[in-house]
Structure formats: structure tokens, C-alpha cells
Amino acid sequence: MPKLYTFLKYFFVVLWACFVIAPFLWAISTSFKDFNSVTGGATYIPWLQFEPTLDGWSVLFKPGSQGGINIIGPYFNSIFVTLTASLISIVLGTLAAYALSRYTFKAGIVKNNDITFFFISQRIMPPVVLSIPFFIFLSSLGLLDSLAGLILVYIVLLMPIAVWIMVDFFNRVPREIDETALIDGCNPFQAFFKVVLPNSVPGMLVAGLFCIIFGWIDFFFAFILTFTKVQLLPVKIVALNSSITPWWSLSAAALVSVAPLIIVAFIVERYLSKGNLSGALK
């Protein structure tokens, strides 16, 4: 029985791994194909079944005058906007979440749980509902088509995620740890920064990962709030589309755009699974 169990376990793990890896392998192979290789039926092995070409990749880095889209600028714009908005969201979100977890707020019938829900409700609404208010808001501030405007909007979108994850995290951190720090001689701020925060790194990493993912993949707001001066990667990639879908360069662009997320997930996962940060309390 244990052998059968081990066999089944590995069988399903391998099956799942194939299921996850297959689209990536497909995209990698497609990115090195040309029009004829893509439309001439399914082929898998380079040099044997099709002749690999770098055409799909070179389009991504050529300037527009040479028929390319040059994603380098938008790529760094996306990194800058996502990281800045995520960082600010984590900092503000963590502070808000700590307050919501540890202090009692009451205004009429509104209590802590309601305030937490107000944060999350930002994500419940369909993005299109927010598009016009955001447009008018950025327009009045003169921040349309700017990195600062996008960062502002992304903070609004990402902070609920940070607050939501961190409130839950802090709720599971025993109050005794704060109280012990107070007894040991910290004031409430020192207790938070010296004791609670270092122990909250796992939660912040998870919240950060989610913020980066949601910030990085956003197309909708990047599309409606920017025009020509500033462009983010998802918007730029859509510009590749024409009457004939260029699957090869779209595949290359997909791989380039997903790479940072894989790196971030890989780093965060390593920290979490090491166990030197998770479960640091008690």
C-alpha cells in the first residue's frame, strides 16, 4: 500500500507539473518560430521539426521606426510603478492592519470589522466602476499619463490586499508578544517596530507577492489612464496585435513579462519554506 501511495503521489505531482510547465514550453517554442512554422501545424522540436528564428524576440527590442515595439521603456515603467505602489501599499497597509487588529475603533455602528470590509470593498467593485472617478481624479491633479498618477491609483488598488492579508496575520499573532515588549520597556511604537514587525516578515512577504502580482498584471487602468508619454508593459504588448496575430512575438512578450513574477515568487517561496521566518511566534 505505501508503494502504491508513493507511486500515485508522484504520478499526480508529475502530471500537475506537466500541466503547469506545458504552456511555458509551448510559449518558448512558439517564440522561436516564424509565420510558416506557427501556421503549418503543430511542431515541437527545434531544428528537426522547425528552424528556430529570433524574429519574435527582436521585435520586442526594435524601435517603432523599424517595425518593433521596444518594450524596454515600458518594462522599466512597469517595474517602477509596481514596486513603488506595492512598497507604499505594504507600509501603509501594515500600519493600518496593525491598528485594526490591536485597537478598537468605533464610530456609531461602524467598528473594526466594518473598516476592514471598506478596504476590501475596493476590490469587490468591478474595475470599470472606478475608471471614471479615477480618470477625473487624476485629470484634476494633472497626473493623467504619468507614472505618479499610476502609482497613486495602484496604491488604492493594492492597499486593500495588503490590509486584508496583514489584518488576518496580526490577528493570529498573540497579543502577549506586544504586551511582553511593553513590559520589557518598549513604548507602543517601539513594540511595533522592534518586536512585532520583525516577526511579521512572512505576512508582509505574502502580501507583497500578491501586491506585485496584481500590480504587474493590471492592464485596464494602465490602458485608460495613460496615452503616449507613459506606457506600461501590458499596454505595450497589446500594441503588438495586428490583422495577423504575431503569435511568435506575443509568446516572447508573454515570457518576458512573466519572468519577474517567477523570480519574485521563487525568492518569496524560498524564504517562506525555509521556516526561519514563518511561525516565528511562540
Partner: protein, 357 residues
């Protein structure tokens, strides 16, 4: 170090309720500087609330807290310079054992050499000297609790060390050694120790003074001997001692005599002035003796069970509709059916409305 005085303290966790329930009912209490106290009572009786009021984690709804002459009621925890150890180990997981023990001293900006000396001294007392450079998170539950305890001990100038059932997670042998260690620390540094527990044996063996609490009230404060021999309420009689005190409803027959059913017993308490119908006789099972023949204050009971505990025997018997327990020497031969038990008058406590008279 300081004398701690609680003056007319009361606390409710629902101050805005029209009819609030008080976790701690109004009381005044003082804790002598350098004393070794146990706060004993069932779960939910207000022990932890009282500790938290002393440490400043809870602001009392009523009353004042004094450290010596100083009113500290509105003072925040960090300014009170008090140490508190919780029931479950609280460690700073990202720090080493050394950093954990040094933390209270660093927060108060002690010089580095003094911190190192003190941390090593405390680590030695607690047998943690080999783990000083280890991450605190990787240690066992009892080692973690030792760290919590150690953080309380590194400061010599604390007003008091408050311990909220601190040895729950520690194995019995180490528990015994630690209690002895705490006593030594108390003798050596004259630090006031207040030890919360619901385990009477722990309280009896640790403290010079025991404060028994029930339903938010202090029901008796005194030495282990006082609590055992003269419980001030039936609750204390029942709560302290194993087995619990034998308690029977009774009626006054004369000035120094009471009746339980058809049996009469002489007592040393003057019960002439008693007006209440609610009279009870209480006697510890340790003071009941087995006799060969009838005499004053003896009764015949049917033996239900005799349990041999190795160092003593516990007889459970019944008379009329009452049960009685007697703790006797192991060597004694106990008849299997009927036994004559004597309730010595000097050990009979009489309670009126559950209070000793």
C-alpha cells in the same frame, strides 16, 4: 522594588453596559516588598485581570494602584518597571537567546558590559548558558518559557515579577526545580514574586502568602497553614486541600454543639449568636481519625471504598445520607464494612452563610 498597594480596585471589561459584570470586584490589597505570593483561584476568577492591572496592561475601572507612595494608576506599562511572565512562552523569534534575555536591559539603555554580565548570570541560573547564541525560535517549549522567565529576572530593580501560571508547559521535574530556583532568587534578590496558579500544591509549596480568589473577589489571604487549618469560607475549604474539606449542613443544638442528622458533635466555636439557618460544619479529612470504640464526636459509617495512595489511605464512607472522607496512615487496618470515625472538636470549623465563625 516596591510595596504594591491596590486601593479600592475594581474592573469591568464592559464599562458602558447598563449593568456591567465586574471581572474584579472592589477590593484593597497590599503586597509587601520582597514577599513571595501566590494568587490562587479557579479559571475566570479575576487573577489575570489583577496582574494586568498591576503591570499596567489594563487600566482599572475604579481605584488606584500605588508602588510605595507613588500613584502609578495612569502610568503606562514601560514606566512601571515591572516584569510579567505569561502562561505560554512569549519569545522574540527573530532574536537569539542572548538577545532575548538582553532585550529588557537594552530597552532601558543599560551599558553593554552590564547587560552581558547580567544575561550570563541569569542564563546560568536557568541552565540556558549553552544556548545563548541559538535562535530562540528553535528551542523546546520549556526552554522558551525559561527565556520568558529570564527576561523577568535580568532586571534587578523591577518593582515585582508577576507570573501568570508560568510553569504550565514545563515538565514536572523541571517545574519542581524551577519553583525552588524562584524561591532562591526571591531570597537572594528580595524581589517581590507574585505567582498566579490554579494548582493549590504549586501555591502551597511556593508562597509564604496565598491569596485565594473566587468570582472576582479575594476570599482569603494568609499563610498556607492558615488556609489549610482555618479556611475562612466554605469555598476555600473546598478549593484548598486534596481531597476537599468535608462539609455538612448542620443545626445548632446548644452553645458548643451541632447536629448533623441524628449525630451530635461538640465544637469549640460559640454558635449561640448565630441567627442564620445556613450553618455548615467543615472538617479536613486529615484530622478525622479511625477509632475502635465510640467516644465523643465519633460516628459509625459504612465503608464505601478504601484507596491506597502509597503513603496514606483514603477512606470514603457514608453516614445517614452524607459522604465522609478520611485520610489515615497506610499501616492502619480498615474494617471492610463499618468504621468508627472521630471528628476532633478542635478541628471542626463552623460556617454561617458559608463564612467561618
Amino acid at each position: 522594588m516596591a510595596k504594591i498597594i491596590l486601593e479600592n480596585i475594581a474592573h469591568t471589561y464592559e464599562p458602558n453596559a447598563s449593568n456591567p459584570i465586574f471581572a474584579l470586584k472592589e477590593m484593597s490589597l497590599s503586597w509587601a516588598d520582597g514577599g513571595r505570593y501566590a494568587l490562587l483561584g479557579p479559571s475566570g476568577c479575576g487573577k489575570t485581570t489583577m496582574l494586568n492591572i498591576m503591570s499596567g496592561l489594563v487600566n482599572p475601572s475604579h481605584g488606584k494602584v500605588f508602588f510605595d507612595e507613588r500613584d502609578v494608576t495612569s502610568m503606562i506599562t514601560e514606566e512601571r518597571n515591572i516584569a510579567q511572565v505569561f502562561q505560554f512562552p512569549v519569545i522574540y523569534g527573530t532574536m537569539t537567546v542572548f538577545e532575548n534575555l538582553a532585550f529588557p536591559l537594552k530597552c532601558r539603555q543599560f551599558p553593554e558590559d552590564q547587560i552581558e554580565r547580567k544575561v550570563k548570570e541569569v542564563a546560568e541560573i536557568l541552565n540556558l548558558q549553552d544556548y545563548l547564541n541559538n535562535r530562540a525560535k528553535g528551542l523546546t517549549a520549556d526552554q522558551k518559557q525559561l527565556i520568558s522567565l529570564g527576561r523577568g529576572l535580568v532586571r534587578e530593580d523591577v518593582a515585582a515579577i508577576l507570573m501568570d501560571e508560568p510553569l504550565t508547559v514545563i515538565d514536572p521535574d523541571l517545574k519542581f526545580r524551577l519553583r525552588r530556583k524562584l524561591k532562591e532568587i526571591n531570597d537572594k534578590y528580595k524581589t517581590t514574586l507574585i505567582y498566579v496558579t490554579h494548582d493549590q500544591n504549586e501555591a502551597m509549596t511556593f508562597a509564604d502568602n496565598i491569596i485565594v480568589m473566587d468570582q472576582g473577589e479575594v476570599v482569603q489571604a494568609g499563610s498556607p497553614k492558615d488556609l489549610f487549618e482555618r479556611p475562612q469560607t466554605t469555598f476555600v475549604g473546598y478549593f484548598i486541600g486534596s481531597p476537599a474539606m468535608n462539609l455538612y449542613e448542620c443545626s445548632a443544638s446548644s452553645k458548643n454543639e451541632i447536629s448533623i442528622g441524628v449525630n451530635s458533635f461538640k465544637v469549640q466555636t460559640n454558635i449561640n449568636n448565630s441567627k442564620s439557618e445556613n450553618l455548615k460544619l467543615g472538617i479536613r479529612s486529615e484530622y478525622i481519625t479511625v477509632e475502635n470504640e465510640y467516644s465523643d464526636n465519633s460516628l459509625e459509617a459504612d465503608v464505601i471504598e478504601v484507596e491506597d495512595f502509597g503513603n496514606y489511605k483514603l477512606i470514603t464512607a457514608s453516614f445517614d445520607s452524607f459522604k465522609i472522607k478520611a485520610k489515615v496512615k497506610r499501616e492502619l487496618d480498615i474494617p471492610s464494612e463499618k468504621v468508627i470515625l472521630k471528628l476532633p472538636a478542635e478541628h471542626c470549623c463552623i460556617y454561617e452563610d458559608n463564612k467561618l465563625i
